[in-house]
Subunit: 155 residues, 2 copies
Amino acid sequence: MLSDNDFNFMRHALELAARAAEAGEVPVGAVVVHDNQVIAEAYNERETRPSALAHAEILALERATEKLGRWRLSGCTLYVTLEPCVMCAGALVQARVDRVVYGATDPKGGAVESLYQVLADSRLNHRPDVKAGVLAPECGTLLSDFFKRRRLIAE
Amino acid sequence: MLSDNDFNFMRHALELAARAAEAGEVPVGAVVVHDNQVIAEAYNERETRPSALAHAEILALERATEKLGRWRLSGCTLYVTLEPCVMCAGALVQARVDRVVYGATDPKGGAVESLYQVLADSRLNHRPDVKAGVLAPECGTLLSDFFKRRRLIAE
């Protein structure tokens, strides 16, 4: 079930994604919410760091973990503008996040509904609740505009 | 194909796993090798940090990335004593590691041969070479001894 807050938190993640685009990064943003408060925010920083692990979700989980001082992120919801990849879906299970809300689907790399359904796998030791498609058009447009601009620059 | 070096590097990972056990952590160790040199080593630090992301593989990939100053870990082999989980298998793909060598299989959480075959997935944008079962008995015994001791303490 979705609340107004879910849309507000996703808008926050979208703002972070826009900042990634400004930095020349594939625009994906994420926030972690605990007790209805944003406790961590991040955007994709793969090129900036540089690190292949610096996806928005991983950085947001790291910051939420530091904030709460525990590895179990129970009581937390992660909002992210794009369907998590295999690495990030696995990290969400490892961190025992209660709930995952995302925007656009990622047919080429998504591991929640597209290529795998990691968060629904009863063989793993945790299954977060999932809500997909929140502000999906806005999240998707940000990505497709970014790639369009990048192709124009490359030509 | 396996070389003497593969066994030596796995022995190095085993020593790191033993240090994890001494620290009260599930004993998994990992090293990253580039140009036949260990450029990063790590062991599981989930409880110590605490962070659900602090698996041996993730920490070793982070350190190798810092060392090389690039997000692509092409030219690198990761050695790890236990079959990587979903998160770590996804991270190995993201980081474009050339080769992954591991010891014991993890029937409950492994994502290379057990629950998933992430590193062999042609839909993803990278497929590392994989060698499984190197020093598997030693790697497995370290883990089973750790859990036996922990159960004895808990009783």
